[in-house]
């Protein structure tokens, strides 16, 4: 175990390094830790993906359910994103109803997917006003090594890419049979930047994250569109700092996308 006081000390150390533009683990400021991706981790899921970014370990799984469309969009299905910080992920998490941390995580991952319009909700319709697919995406945090937003976003996108649409007979889903795949029009991903003092850097470790003053997550697509933003923590950003993050976001997201594509290619 590395307890939380140890992390705080490491946080202080991280701070000292970052003040000099360096990082404890030798990475450059905008460099991500090694990433490993296991698509189709769970066979019972309609799509799933396990992602490790350094020590961070998250598992996303998808279950498609048949539900009624919302009254104000009778010809659309929908997505629903949940996140659970499992209590094994960190000494301080507790079992219990989703708290504000997991709710924020789920909602920002949701926002990045939803607002990019990569999923055409109209294609999720089964029967107007009465039946449509609800794409349930659940992310489980198994080990919190920092930068959960990017790892979760990557796992959710990976799960969506490999997701299959269950076969329907009458009103019911036929188990273990599929009628096709989910179609995605782009690959939206979150990249998150952290600020300690005046230094901005990507992919914080847990000790760096604990020492961070502020955080900003930017969702973007390969078409260089920003589709989501979320500033977090009690620090502040200047306009220039935010613009610097934006400049990096497209580059970094492209890197993550190609890592994901490689993993998917290796799988099939």
């Amino acid at each position: 175990m590395r307890d939380d006081i140890l992390f705080e000390l490491q946080g202080e150390k991280a701070k000292a390094y970052l003040a000099k533009g360096k990082r404890i683990d030798g990475r450059s400021l905008m460099e991500y830790r090694p990433i490993s991706i296991i698509p189709n981790f769970s066979k019972n899921a309609d799509g799933s993906c396990r992602v490790k970014v350094g020590e961070t370990d998250v598992i996303a799984g998808i279950k498609m359910e048949i539900g009624a469309p919302y009254p104000d969009s009778p010809n659309e299905g929908s997505i629903s994103v949940g996140a659970e910080f499992t209590p094994m992920a960190s000494p301080i998490f507790e079992t219990g109803p989703p708290d504000e941390y997991s709710i924020e995580l789920a909602r920002v991952v949701d926002r990045c997917i939803r607002e990019s319009k990569t999923l055409d909700f109209k294609q999720l319709l089964i029967e107007e006003a009465t039946k449509a697919w609800i794409v349930n995406i659940d992310v489980y945090v198994v080990n919190d090594g920092g930068n959960l937003f990017d790892a979760s976003s990557l796992a959710a996108l990976g799960a969506l890419i490999v997701a299959k649409i269950p076969k329907i007979e009458g009103d019911k889903i036929v188990k273990n049979e599929y009628s096709g795949k989910l179609e995605l029009s782009c690959m939206p991903l979150l990249t998150t930047f952290f600020k300690i003092g005046n230094t901005i850097f990507a992919d914080a470790t847990i000790s760096e994250e604990k020492a961070a003053d502020a955080r900003i997550s930017v969702g973007s697509t390969e078409n260089r569109q920003i589709c989501a933003m979320q500033k977090g923590l009690a620090g502040k950003f200047t306009q220039q700092e935010i613009e610097r993050c934006f400049e990096m976001t497209f580059e970094k997201a492209d890197e993550l996308r190609s890592t994901l594509k490689d993993a998917l290619a290796a799988e099939s």
């Binding site: 260089r224 933003m229 613009e243």
Partner: protein
């Protein structure tokens, strides 16, 4: 500021805010409070603290906790909301509390909590900004030392046009973007920033400029509300003045803050 062929549903210019009215000190049992009307939005904010954080294990020995609770009344929205707080309310509470924490001298109040409750009773887009805007006025009313007020304002897009402070109809546009933001006005630092919708980097820069501008307008309204209160109190209550006085000093003098707090020139 900009000219456009786009006509807003309520006839506003693209950089024009809806009518905003802020009244501090509307509650008697809270330590500080404020009422805000922002277009159709109506919110009441009550502040308690700094007071002992309980249960003890949540206490932080280095600073006060900032506990912000944003809620919408069941009847404040077109379709009845459940009385149970939803995930949206919980997320907004979290980011708004973080935004306010950046302005409060939390390091002065070890083991304490500052509780801020913001309830919406009517709504038409922009409720988180309205509540947050009222909240820093309520904090000032409670005499809680702050580096700066925290004005908030959303920027949006409708029919291809970037606009400040979108109303509900604009928020529902086909190409809608919604970007609520809040700043510390003195150095124009961003303390709250969220965004839904698709924007290019160039559009974002324009949107951000509009938003900053909106926040600065909101800031003037906040200061005016506090000042009016201050003047009205002057005639009535000597003691209350001193507390507010300290607040106002803190907001208006610049050089002092770096010395007092951990404020760093951005």
């Amino acid at each position: 500021m900009e000219k456009s062929v786009y006509e807003r549903p309520d006839g506003r210019k693209i950089d024009e805010l809806r009518k905003i009215k802020i009244v501090p000190s509307v509650l008697t049992r809270a330590d500080g409070s404020a009422y805000i009307e922002w277009g159709q939005n109506k919110a009441i904010v009550g502040v308690f603290g700094p007071r002992e954080a309980l249960p003890q294990h949540i206490q932080n020995p280095t600073k006060a906790l900032v506990n912000y609770v944003y809620r919408m009344a069941t009847f404040s929205v077109p379709e009845r909301k459940s009385a149970k707080p939803g995930r949206r309310e919980i997320e907004i509470s979290k980011v708004s509390g973080e935004a306010l924490e950046s302005a409060i001298f939390v390091e002065r109040f070890a083991n304490a909590t500052i509780d801020i409750y913001a309830y919406l009773f009517d709504s038409n887009a922009g409720t988180r900004c309205a509540a947050l805007t009222a909240a820093s006025v309520a904090l000032a009313d409670a005499g809680i030392p702050m580096r700066d007020l925290v004005p908030a304002c959303a920027v949006g897009r409708a029919n291809g046009q970037l606009i400040v402070d979108p109303c509900k109809e604009e928020e529902d546009a086909e190409d809608a973007v919604d970007m609520p933001m809040a700043i510390l006005p003195r150095n124009k630092e961003v303390v709250l920033l969220q965004m839904d919708g698709l924007l290019s980097l160039e559009e974002w820069k324009k949107a951000f400029h509009l938003g900053l501008n909106g926040c600065m307008q909101v800031y003037e309204i906040q200061k005016k509300a506090i000042k009016e209160k201050y003047e009205s109190i002057e005639k009535e209550d000597k003691k209350a003045i001193e507390a507010l006085n300290e607040e106002m000093e803190c907001l208006e003098s610049e050089g002092q803050n770096s010395a007092e707090g951990d404020y760093v020139e951005g």
